[in-house]
């Protein structure tokens, strides 16, 4: 088994051995590009060869110089390989990108949908989780606001997480507005923003307008969509498909997005 200490030893003492030891890492990263349509399967071996040559002739020296031993070598190496793949792509001007962007709206997520589709959704959910976690202190706020706006529904705990001092009456009022008993009671986005803004202003002692709150949430949604789509772009999210993923995340599988 490969340990980080072993990686460090090989990197500084046996560069050839280091590259040989990391053939799986190279193939893994190159395969990701193949999988997302950046290269064809036929390009694969050539790209692997290119990465190997570049590592041995150029990049290992730089890695020895730059690596500061505070993170795993394989994380650093993966970034180098990723950049070499992009470099190869630019040189070859190979942008196949025909059929492989993930479009979650085309995936049927029902109880009897096949396993591989659920795996894709689960992987996308993991990506969403990493993105949300980067919002640090705002993470809970974004999650609760999106639950409200995406019609997923919220619980008392969701509100108390953000506003521990909220009184029961205000909580009940917000819960009623955000968790309609029927479609007839369903609030418009404008009404939801207004209800949310009143709550925020009261418990954060602010003077926001509903429009300001809407803009803040919209900017966060746009950021999350951009991050989910990746760089280079590997997915095709928009607000609707983010909503689908968010619903999945919250275990509400009462939808069929295949249409």
């Amino acid at each position: 088994m490969r340990s980080n200490d072993n990686d460090i030893h090989l990197l500084f003492n046996d560069p050839g051995g280091f590259v040989k030891e990391h053939q799986k890492t190279i193939q893994y990263v190159v395969n990701k590009f193949v999988y997302t349509g950046f290269f064809t399967y036929h390009d694969r071996d050539e790209v692997v060869q290119y990465v190997n040559e570049k590592l041995l002739t150029d990049k290992i020296d730089k890695m020895q110089e730059q690596y500061n031993k505070n993170y795993y070598v394989v994380t650093y190496l993966s970034k180098i390989i990723h950049n070499l793949c992009l470099e190869y792509s630019r040189k070859q001007k190979s942008h196949y990108r025909e059929t492989t962007e993930i479009d979650i709206s085309t995936i049927d997520i029902t109880e009897d949908s096949d396993v591989s589709r659920n795996i894709v959704i689960e992987e996308e959910n993991q990506r969403l989780e990493s993105i949300l976690s980067m919002y640090n202190k705002n993470r809970n706020r974004i999650e609760v606001y999106l639950k409200i706006l995406f019609g997923i529904g919220i619980k008392e705990d969701d509100i108390l997480t953000l506003y521990p001092r909220a009184n029961s009456k205000d909580i009940d009022t917000l819960l009623q507005q955000c968790n309609p008993a029927s479609d007839q009671d369903k609030k418009t986005d404008k009404e939801l923003y207004e209800a949310l803004t009143m709550f925020i202003n009261k418990y954060e002692k602010k003077q926001n307008t509903a429009d300001a709150v809407r803009k803040w949430i919209t900017s966060k949604i746009d950021e999350i969509i951009e991050l989910l789509n990746g760089s280079p772009k590997t997915a095709n999210y928009d607000k609707e498909t983010l909503k689908i993923l968010f619903q999945f995340r919250n275990k509400n599988l009462h939808f069929n997005a295949s249409g």
């Binding site: 088994m1 490969r2 340990s3 980080n4 200490d5 990686d7 890492t25 893994y28 990263v29 990701k32 020895q64 110089e65 730059q66 690596y67 500061n68 031993k69 505070n70 993170y71 795993y72 394989v74 994380t75 650093y76 993966s78 970034k79 390989i81 990723h82 992987e123 993991q126 990506r127 990493s130 993105i131 976690s133 980067m134 919002y135 640090n136 202190k137 705002n138 809970n140 705990d157 969701d158 108390l160 997480t161 521990p164 950021e223 951009e226 991050l227 990746g230 760089s231 590997t234």
Partner: protein
């Protein structure tokens, strides 16, 4: 090997900091990242993009055999041991000088009676048998005077804050609502420390006390919402305590054991 910088001159994360952040995501140890890194990423789309791009590359790679993480699983951040060593060295030098001075002034001198201990202006209040010990045996010069304690210097290193945990103190993590009632942050504990908290949902929690060297000095688990611990065995210093459930860190607090 170059020095570890977290931010570029333009205020964004360096590549090193991005790699560190990605490792934190892989290992679910984001709370151990430096606070300024977490706060910057929270606000910076550009850095989020750089992190997510690399995380997408490594997300499914198997890191299970890599062993302890060079940053997150270290007892100290790299510059810390140096700082700590210097502090200890300085403390040792101060103690050494103190000992030399004390030896110079207090060592029994055969030519001079032992009168230095006696207050000049109140000699009559001192009973002779207490202030005048048995005459020193000058044939046994190796009998050393009592070694004076310099507690503040001895324990100086124990009072160094630990950056990792300083960033976490009094923050609430994730969605579990935990209200910690005691101890207060930086509360000085002289006897028993009483931990008490309120979780909205009943759950088993684990309490761990760590010294400023990140060593766990005591831990327990309970389904109650309070627990006490007798600190008499603990050295004076800064202590951090973690409240965790089976899945995640809920709270980090801090208390002080003063020099007794």
């Amino acid at each position: 090997m170059h020095e570890n910088k977290l931010f570029t001159s333009r205020g964004h994360l360096t590549d090193d900091a991005v790699y560190l952040y990605v490792d934190a995501l892989k290992l679910a140890k984001k709370e151990l990242l430096p606070g300024e890194v977490r706060e910057h990423v929270e606000e910076c789309v550009q850095c989020k993009r750089a992190i997510q791009e690399l995380y997408d590359v490594v997300r499914q790679q198997d890191y299970s055999s890599l062993g302890p993480h060079p940053y997150f699983d270290q007892k100290k951040i790299p510059i810390k041991p140096i700082h700590r060593t210097i502090t200890r060295l300085a403390a040792a030098i101060v103690i050494g000088i103190g000992l030399v001075l004390l030896a110079y002034f207090y060592l029994p001198d055969t030519d001079t009676p032992l009168t230095l201990d006696e207050p000049v202006d109140a000699p009559e209040e001192i009973e002779p048998q207490k202030t005048e010990p048995a005459p020193p045996d000058i044939t046994e010069p190796d009998i050393a005077p009592p070694v004076p304690e310099e507690p503040r210097e001895l324990y100086a290193a124990n009072f160094e804050p630990m950056p990792f945990y300083e960033n976490l103190v009094d923050q609430q993590f994730r969605s579990h609502l935990v209200r910690v009632q005691s101890p207060e942050i930086d509360e000085e504990i002289t006897n028993e420390v009483h931990f008490s908290w309120d979780t909205r949902v009943p759950m088993q929690v684990h309490i761990k006390i760590l010294n400023n060297n990140q060593d766990i000095v005591w831990q327990t688990s309970t389904e109650e919402q309070h627990v006490s611990y007798d600190t008499s065995e603990l050295e004076p210093g800064i202590y951090y305590w973690r409240l965790e459930n089976d899945e995640e860190l809920l709270y980090v607090g801090k208390f002080i054991i003063p020099i007794r």
